[in-house]
Assembly symmetry: C2
Homo-oligomer: 360 residues x 2
């Protein structure tokens, strides 16, 4: 059904296997910093118009690969498609973040929730298959979902938040309801990711974008436990291939000891964590690391970008069998990024990471 | 000049000395969650009208102490008074954050900066003396400043930010200019805190509210190094009393190993850090810890507040000579907090922390 893979560097690094250089992709690599993305977005009329149209989603997913020799593609979609399919009514006002028509803050609203019919998310799975075909084996395709906790944040707040007041109020005052929401989210996310795998995703990533806002103790109970519940339900292989799983908790560097034994292949890190120190913790557990350049480095001149990229690679050190690195930003690329900065970054990572592997 | 101190629990705990219970104060304890604060704020007309009027500043500083048996008072002021005195023009639009009339993003703007004449900040020092007199020895008074890096964030961005794009662009692309700003900020902050100490502040706290947005490596170079430069210039004693120094880096839990040897008495922590684990790291360096309840706990029923407060106390464990704890939130109290929640918290901390000290 799909063309054979020509560049397996990303998948090999996820699985702890040796590669000639450090593979690289960027969170939100298909996005507003690219003029061709903004043109497609204008044609689509709205963000959800873009995300729900298979042709548009395919087009924008491939745009960064036309410009840069990146080592993976990631499905163009939103982390909030699952709660939208639960009937909460997702929308994006121009220039603003996501907003739900309904929020979930009491027993009645929780009682109405159910794992959504995957037919409602068919536009996502169709996009996965379409993108995989369009990639024609150039690089692997990553599928993704928000984590149960991150989805719950938006479901309870009804939108983004700067203090997470409503979701934390529910969590502290009614932990029973929060556990109900999270269990349901975990089962929905697992089904959603498994269906992406069946549709053609060659790796999957769980974005725990808001795990880092939790208190120590609450993170383990309300975020990590439900990420584990997702992982326990995921298909390990498809079509005879291992499907690597990546877990990224923004602000989660403090909890590496809690995450090092997760049933996944890769842990994503933001820029606050020292890669070498993190590697020492997770390498005995066979985990690869993904990250972690500050996206704001991309506002610097090319020389500075190259220097900073080399520092990230050097802080990880030379990869070894069972302890590998996937280069990425520590968060999504900024919409204000000059596209030529990404060229400088990709070149620096590919060149320097080959040098790192040369015998000393 | 000032009345003798009746409750020295806070100062003793800062200095690693034994106390009968764990002292407690709350960041932003004089603030919008109190109806009496909102009434004074309305009389003052604007936030800066409130902060620059000695009588109003004294009134609001004492308000929480009338309601709750807190163990310290903190000067009512803003962290941005120093860049305002540098001529950048601080204002607060109603319901919005701080805004500067000028920002500092290029060589010319940096060249214009200078350590401000402390006469321009006389309203702060007058408030310190007035508050100290009004306290009449009930509890000690804490003075404070933003850290050099945190001030720089606002000076370069010109306002709050969600991505710190401008300040990080300057930092990565023109580190020479950033170092100039930070050196100047450090010298200004040291002078500012020393003048607060002379005016009557019995302890001082440096708020590195935005240190946690920096990448590992950049934090040490651009934030911590300049906090050290402030600390090196601070008066160690005044009127024969040691002046305890507290350093609080929001999101700094990952860097405790870098901070444990700071020339200060107390490290403040946000809720993401486990107090017991942090204590094990810093106790050999004689540091006390301050924190770290999630302010969102205060939206729960009183029983839950008490349980969560006990968990924070228990996670630190029984204080010992040279390893002590000051209870606080992990960040400023939310304006939406029900005032009665603070009563429940104060009682729980005082009662349970006495029990912790009982022989087993």
């Amino acid at each position: 059904m799909f063309a054979p893979l020509q560049n397996d560097t990303f998948l090999r690094a996820c699985l702890g296997q040796s590669t000639d250089y450090t593979p690289l992709w960027l969170m939100r690599q298909a996005g507003r910093y690219l003029p061709e993305y903004r043109a497609t977005r204008a044609k689509a009329g709205s963000f959800m118009g873009l995300a729900t149209n298979v042709d548009f989603a395919t087009e924008v997913t491939l745009q960064p690969l036309e410009r840069y020799p990146l080592d993976a593609a990631i499905l163009f979609s939103d982390i909030l498609t699952v709660p939208d399919a639960m009937g909460l009514g997702l929308s994006f006002a121009l220039g603003e973040g996501p907003k739900f028509a309904k929020n979930v803050r009491d027993e009645a609203a929780v009682a109405e929730l159910a794992v959504p019919d995957m037919a409602k998310l068919r536009y996502v799975f169709d996009a996965v298959t379409s993108i995989r075909k369009a990639l024609d084996g150039r690089v692997p395709l990553i599928g993704f979902s928000g984590s149960p906790w991150t989805l719950a944040c938006y479901m309870v707040e009804g939108a983004g938040s700067d203090d997470y007041r409503h979701v934390k109020t529910l969590m502290y005052a009614r932990p029973d309801l929060m556990h109900q929401i999270l269990a349901l989210n975990a089962d929905a996310v697992a089904l959603y990711l498994n269906t992406q795998i069946e549709a053609g995703a060659q790796a999957v990533m769980i974005f725990d974008s808001w795990g880092g806002v939790l208190a120590d103790g609450a993170f383990q109970t309300f975020s990590l436990a439900y990420t584990r519940r997702v992982l326990a339900q995921l298909k390990k292989t498809h079509d005879g291939q291992t499907i690597p799983r990546i877990v990224f908790t923004k602000g989660g560097g403090l909890w590496l000891d809690d995450m090092k034994d997760l049933d996944c292949h890769v842990l994503g890190l933001d820029w606050t964590t020292h890669l070498g120190a993190a590697r020492a913790k997770v390498a005995p557990y066979g985990k690869a690391l993904q990250g972690n350049l500050d996206p704001n480095v991309l506002f610097s001149p090319p020389d500075t970008i190259a220097t900073q990229a080399r520092q990230v690679l050097d802080s990880f050190g030379t990869p070894s069998e069972g302890s590998t690195h996937i280069f990425n930003l520590g968060h999504g690329i900024s919409q204000h990024t000059p596209p030529e900065s990404v060229s400088a970054l990709v070149e620096a990572v590919h060149v320097h990471s080959r040098k790192l592997r040369e015998p000393q």
